[in-house]
């Protein structure tokens, strides 16, 4: 289980608890976090669960695979710390993770 904080582009923030083995995207959808669309349901086929991961966390996580980086090319305003939240799997190590949702998803 990990506490995950979602900030939106205006600075509003919400913290939820997500069980291990779920993804950050699934946690967001189940808790109705606005700003995560997840149109394709987590099959890495769209880029509508795009988040910016706080730098300190970004470097600690396993790196994105090629398919994810290709998909991030398609995201709205990608940055260096962009990830698809459907590809971040929760473990105890991610307790305290902070991500920011973009202004929009597409």
């Amino acid at each position: 289980m990990a506490k995950i904080t979602f900030k939106d582009y205006q600075g509003n923030s919400r913290t939820i608890e997500v069980d291990n083995r779920l993804t950050v995207m699934e946690g967001a959808v189940q808790n109705e976090i606005p700003g995560i669309d997840a149109d394709c349901g987590g099959s890495m086929a769209c880029a509508t669960c795009h988040v910016y991961v706080e730098e300190s966390w970004f470097n600690k996580m396993p790196k994105a695979e090629d398919g994810e980086v290709d998909m991030i090319d398609m995201a709205f305003e990608p940055k260096k710390n962009s990830r698809l939240s459907c590809q971040i799997t929760i473990t105890d190590d991610l307790d305290g993770l902070v991500v920011t949702t973009p202004e929009k998803q597409s």
């Binding site: 149109d39 099959s43 090319d73 597409s106």
Partner: protein, 337 residues
């Protein structure tokens, strides 16, 4: 006006299998899809990715699944209206009137919405006031190459479309290829050709850059691009080509007065009817308690919806449940002796 027993919206796997389930019951259907080919997400998002959970098919790609479904519905000689989007659905004399953006009109007792997450549309550039340039200086596809001759063209994107059009248009125009990171994703021979052109000074490649600003009143005059460190560069530009893939948009479906739950349509899981009689929803777009977004769930959903469609299209006939293994009538419809 075309009369049909069922209008199916969406030519993905679920829409295609609906043709089969309706066809073996003797019902005629038409299929309408915004893409230029059948297959939906299977063909647009993962044509080469293997799928492992189609019953009795241990492994097949999105393309193979689509091809097999098209083969399976061949006996029914169904018309697919591709490159068309349903714009309007309204009630007319007890039937549904359906109109597409190409002006095709249908009258039908039944509509099955198998629209996935909506229709695919090109992902647009994310700058304010971009619309006024679209179709004049900004394009998301190349329809007629002639319009792109002898111009200063900036191409955005890092995938096959961006690379292929860079190669093609560089034959007669001045091309700058711009991508947000250094790596491009494409076939090796394409990447080699791009490198060679850059080496010869025939094209210019700018990475890692993103579009920052467009200068110009009615037409684009120049653009400013910016890298991760805030460094900017101005490029004289007549045309911007942007290849950032497709997005799924629910589109007009949201305006048809159906009960919705976020971006999905609420249905009765006994027959997959929506809040309106004769309008059904199946596949990823429908929502009921326990819904799973799996292709196999969609197959089940259209099988049940097709029974209700039969009752509405043939109110004076009694529906008889039959097996394909034993029914002469079904085998005739499938063209089997």
């Amino acid at each position: 006006m075309i009369k049909t027993d069922v209008v199916i919206i969406g030519a993905g796997p679920v829409g295609l299998f609906a043709v089969h389930q309706l066809g073996i019951k003797g019902l005629k259907a038409v299929v309408i899809d915004n893409l230029d080919k059948a297959g939906g997400q299977c063909i647009e998002l993962y044509p080469d990715k293997p799928i492992y959970d189609i019953p009795a098919v241990p492994e097949c790609t999105g393309k193979e699944l689509t091809d097999r479904l098209l083969e399976q519905i061949k006996p029914f000689k169904t018309t697919l209206y591709l490159n068309e989007r349903v714009e309007e659905v309204k009630s007319e004399n007890g039937n549904w009137f359906v109109k597409t953006n190409n002006g095709n009109e249908f009258s039908t007792p039944n509509i099955i919405i198998a629209g996935g997450v909506g229709s695919f549309e090109p992902r647009k550039l994310a700058l304010k006031n971009i619309e006024k340039f679209e179709g004049k200086s900004i394009f998301y596809a190349v329809k007629n190459k002639e319009e792109f001759k002898n111009k200063n063209i900036c191409i955005f994107g890092g995938g096959d479309s961006a690379l292929d059009w860079t190669l093609e248009l560089s034959k007669f125009s001045n091309i700058t290829l711009i991508h947000r990171r250094d790596e491009f994703r494409g076939a090796q021979h394409t990447l080699d050709a791009i490198k060679k052109l850059e080496g010869q000074g025939k094209i210019s490649i700018k990475t890692p850059f993103q579009l920052e600003k467009i200068e110009g009143d009615d037409e684009v005059k120049s653009i400013t691009i910016k890298d991760d460190n805030g460094k900017t560069e101005k490029i004289k530009t007549d045309i911007i080509l942007s290849f950032f893939g497709l997005v799924m948009k629910l589109g007009p479906i949201a305006e048809w007065g159906l009960n919705m739950d976020k971006k999905t349509i609420s249905v009765n899981p006994n027959n997959f009817e929506t809040s309106k009689k004769g309008i059904f929803a199946a596949g990823d777009i429908c929502n009921y308690e326990g819904k799973l977004k799996l292709i196999l769930s969609g197959f089940h959903e259209v099988a049940l919806a097709s029974v209700e469609c039969f009752k509405r299209a043939r109110p004076n006939e009694k529906y008889r449940f039959e097996f394909t293994t034993s029914s002469k009538t079904i085998q005739d419809r499938l063209g089997k002796k």
